[in-house]
Amino acid sequence: MSSNTPSSSAGGVGSADSAAPRRNSKRPKYSKFTQQELPACKPILTPRWVISAFMLVSIVFIPIGVVSLFASRDVVEIIDRYETECVPENLRNNKVSFIQSDANKTCTRKLRVKKLMKQPIYVYYQLDNFYQNHRRYVKSRSDSQLKDNSSWNDVSSCKPEDMSNGQAIVPCGLIAWSLFNDTYNFSLNNQQLEVNKRGISWKSDRDSKFGNDVFPRNFQNGTLIGGKTLDPTVPLSKQEDLIVWMRTAALPTFRKLYGKIERDLQANETIHVTLENNYNTYSFNGKKKLVLSTTSWLGGKNDFLGIAYLTVGGLCFFLALSFTVVYLLKPRRLGDPSYLSWNRNPGGH
């Protein structure tokens, strides 16, 4: 109340900057930040920018697409679907009962190498219509049990494959229980083809997820056998088939690595495969395929990405062109105030 407020007529003297710093002044401190005036870049989509952006994308994408397509084409792949052929013809009406019976399930297949296949040649089995990503399925495992021998009893999450004959199962759960158990033997010109089954799983899994002191116990002892049995003397960290299987696939059609053939296969060679068709995919109309494939930097044979890149690149090229044309035909001067809505239709004329 007793502040020397200048009378209003004198107010004009002190402008904002020259005002002496008054005591207790609440004037906000000036800074670029508080005044929202931080130095900033203000990009504007000018036609030149837009066209160059589209050109850039097409210049990057088209070559990548071409390279990917070539990489995919370079991959040589032999796929053999065998789940029907490996059932004797007379039993094909009831495949499920065949696969559940004790009948001999050995089956031989001939694979012809169409093109030179450079080593390493990966051997995969491919399952179709097998939902390894089903909620009930993926939950049915016990990671602590796999890792640590002391918690072998930790099977609570493994139902319905948690206990057998009153004893905990190691490895428990539906995933381990349904371990794929077809086996393949390859021979070339009556000579056994070595399939290297070591190192087919992730090193990180072998080292940290599956313990080297955890041994299979009470496995596949129940009434219902789901798949492969495991050698109880080999620790889980060495059971690579299991490790591969336990990395559940993301999609209902998937491949799993079976092994590697570490020699070249010449074109027109014929490989004889002796396979044990044990795994029951018939109950859900699943397909089984045996796949021999080389690999490229891009992985397996899949043209999709190359085509996608070419499409996007081509589209961008087209857009760049059409924007150029449109821009040349109907340009608009950027920032021209006469386009402002209140300038476009002046009030009185």
Binding site: Y137, P160, T253, F254, H349
Partner: protein, 1183 residues
Amino acid sequence: MDSESIETFYSAESALSSSSRRSNFSIRSKASGRNSIREVNFGDLGSKAVRYGSRGADSETYSLNMSQKEINDEDARLVHINDPVQTNERFEFSGNSIRTGKYSILTFLPRNLFEQFHRVAYIYFLVIAVLNQLPQLAVFGRGVSILPLAFVLLVTAVKDAYEDYRRHRSDRIENNRLASVLVNDQFQQKKWKNIEVGEIIKIYANETIPCDMVLFSTSDPTGVAYVQTINLDGESNLKTRYAKQETLVKIPEKDKLDGLIKCEKPNRNIYGFQANMEVDGKRLSLGPSNIILRGCELKNTAWAVGVAVYAGRETKVMLNSSGAPSKRSRLETHMNLEIIFLSLFLIALCTVVSVCAAVWLRRHRDELDYLPFYRRKNFSDDGEENYNYSGWGLEICFTFLMSVIVFQVMIPISLYISMELVRVGQAYFMVRDTQMYDESSNSRFQCRALNINEDLGQIKYVFSDKTGTLTENKMEFQCASIWGVDYSGGKAISLDQKDGYFVKVDGKVLRPKMKVKTDPELLQLARNGKETEEGSHVHDFFLALAACNTIVPLIIDSHDPNVKLIDYQGESPDEQALVYAAASYGFMLIERTSGHIMIDIQGERRRFNVLGLHEFDSDRKRMSVILGFPDKSVKVFVKGADTSMFSVVDRYMNKNVIRTTEAHLYSYSSLGLRTLVVGMRDLSTSEFEEWHSAFEVASTALMGRASLLRKVASNIENNLCILGASGIEDKLQQGVPEAIESLRTAGIKVWVLTGDKQETAISIGYSSKLLTSKMTQIIINSRSKESCRKSLEDAVIMSKKLTTISDTTNDTGGTSRAGLTPAALIIDGTSLVYILDSELEESLFQLACDCSVVLCCRVAPLQKAGIVALVKKRTADMTLAIGDGANDVSMIQMADVGVGISGQEGRQAVMASDFAMGQFRFLVPLLLVHGHWNYQRMGYMVLYNFYRNAVFVLVLFWYVLFTCFSLTTAITEWSSVLYSIIYTSLPTIVIGILDKDLSRRSLLKYPQLYGAGQRQECYNKKLFWITMIDTLWQSAVAFFIPLLAYWSSTIDASSIGDLWTLAVVILVNLHLAMDVMRWNWLTHAAIWGSIIATFICVIIIDSLPFLVGYWAIFEIAKTGLFWLCLLAIIVAALIPRFVVKVLYQLYVPSDVQIVRETEKFQTQTESGAVEIELSSILDTPRR
């Protein structure tokens, strides 16, 4: 003379009259029912003025009845003076310790949680978290599912706890302050918290009053005490409080004080108090002027003694401490509709999933038992039984609920928190804006409501008060008409009178603090004394100005030890101006006590006895003082509004003087001056005696005191002889015309609602450029409903004629007005009485919409609210009300956005407002700059948040279609929880606070850009649906490119999940980056930082060996396919949006877009010109 000037003039001179002015306030709080006031105090007689519609007459009788009611015993509180033991016998009165903290340590958790769960969104998430705990539905792990809700609750709880801690701390400090309390006939220091009702307390100068007390005695022999109520209502001037004569002489230490005070129950009306006191067998009545309230400070009084009547939480200040009003923003209301759409969409997704699951289960029902990935039967030990399968129907039901859990983020919980954070950030910048800082009142912009920031960008109607809002409310005496002669020469302070008038006292110079320009001729006349007839009239006139008021002179030191300044403290600026003017002409008020005043007349000190004072009330619209002259003659001086004065003037005396004075008044008011008429009358002894006895009776009456006093006043205020009139300039605030011009260019309709009379209002309208000479004025002054109807009909026809002319030239509404004759509607309060709340409202609204300016004069506070309601009810447009006085409170609370001016007239407007600022012109940067930004930011943020969460949910949804509809998520549950907490939340908040589409300069240069908000360009249904379609495309690209690229490969769920996580996060962040308009380092940090943070989080999650996805990110990142997928997803997903955006910007550019380009390409050339244009609105003062 006009009602408003009179109202401010006499405002709250003593609490008695002030309560009449504030009566709308007290009635309102009564109506709101929080703390009902049982007795409407005397002052409520004024309530007639604040009613609108036809109920005025009822309220008069109503309030009379109320005021005549005795305080019933059951409604009263009995306070035994100096006997706290007996007073508090029944333990019904609270002690003086206060607790503003909401929680104690024990109650914090339950109460805080209870309060937080008032939000529907939280309950939704709680229900989902609970659902997830059921074993059949457990989609996420226990911890994960609770995490988001827990996080939000925790953040809010920590914030609340901190605030509460601060409240507790200040409570502790407050409770432990000391006061002198009479204990065993001796004053002792006692802590505030131990003070009890009934105790006698002594307060010394500059001390804060610890509780509400009735004054007993003060250091002043007449029993006056001055208090400053700044903590209570923000008014910094001093208010006078009186001790009763009967208690004055008692010395608390010696005389045994006892007695009984019977007062009303605690209530929150700070301007009302009613009680009676029995002392020494006499019954005295107490009013609001006898009580001093907690929180006030004692000033200019050495000590005061009083008895505590209300303590602690029952004090008026504590009862009044309520939070800011809560309003809901328009955008948020619209948003809720879209939330419903999203909920429907969510339900649709869940239905699709459960129907598909049902079909799948049905088709495979025979195989389920043995299906390796389903295994319905459990064969392990004791026979076959169903494992985790509850039948077809229940499974579908579970699937549905599970999918709700999985897709829960479709409803963006984080949006609510982000919006709050963004609003806090926006408020921070608004408060810190140096261009909205008012130098003269040293006040910053204030954000009192935090949830309607974005409404500032969509205002269509501004309702403005005039006095104190458009004008400064710093009154300056300009001219006077004395005895029919006009003296208006005082245009400058000439050299010889530079120091103004002063008197010497004890060798020291005493001078008024403010100098007033004087008219040399009048000055000369005043100095010559009253020898001539002219001189005697001038003498009487200035004596009236100096005496007839409630100003308190305070002597303060100045820099020069020989000069003392005299500062006139009073509640009405008009009165201050008049007293300063009188002082400049040599009639200096030096001392005022309740019994006498000391006036220094041309160096000669004269003492006048104040025999009686009739304070202002809004019915009489005048005040009077009865002075006993040293020569024993008695005169009554009256001062008031012209209408009320001319009705009590003796018409047959001095007809010429009356006529010329009326002419002068007319010319003054057409200059925009506020006028007051002064009159006087000699009282004969018999007249005086008669008045005196009546006055005594009335002022000690217990019932209906106010109306009795009013009657007494009316009896004496008649047959006056007119002395003259004064003209006071109410200066326009700086930059008002420019601000109004800007607002109107922006397409905002400015309506001025004022209590002033028509001529003043119109002249202010012209000087503020609200009205221009081009406009056709439609004036409605009607005295009956029928004439109202007729004039409205005529006016509508007239405006139709005008608008049909304009329609041919103008199809965009009110934005372009050049070349046509806009109409201005001027309507007065009397006509509004007949129009509001009747069927005529509709045609008034039609008419008002056609007019580009609406000016309502002589409107009462509730009529102001009625007019706002008229517009608010009939349109979806946003309304803003701005005002500074208590009479604007109802309007401010009625409007969508209420702005208070923290100016001269106290703080009630500010307390009721959503935003408060120092000057009217700050409305321009507030609306055009901050409003525009806030709206644009918030609109974009809401859309973006919908998009962001929907993309994620859709990616989850697509995957569900490939997992037998079993709701597996490839994306780890941790990622899906962290998605809206860490991965994507920060950039949208930073952008919501910092991004600017246009610079401040452009927004001020082209006010039309404000139309973007009015047309809802940043958030509307079309944009919502476009965004949703874009969302669908983007999610499809993000999902299907990896799906096809990895089809029939060895990919495992965790790896592809990581790819999807990263793809979606990068995608939504780049989407945001594409729309950012200003990249500063914070924006860069937030966007790129979030992407990096996501990578880090994914790496951390994949480094935990107990999770399924251990090491997956490292395995997949080794392959080229991963990176190619990422690149393809981002480019392919963003192309459509980019193309549409480019096409829109290049070929259908919005105004904002064009100006952005202008900003970029033509900054240098035009900046100079803009500077000049804007300078008046912005910082540098115009005059």
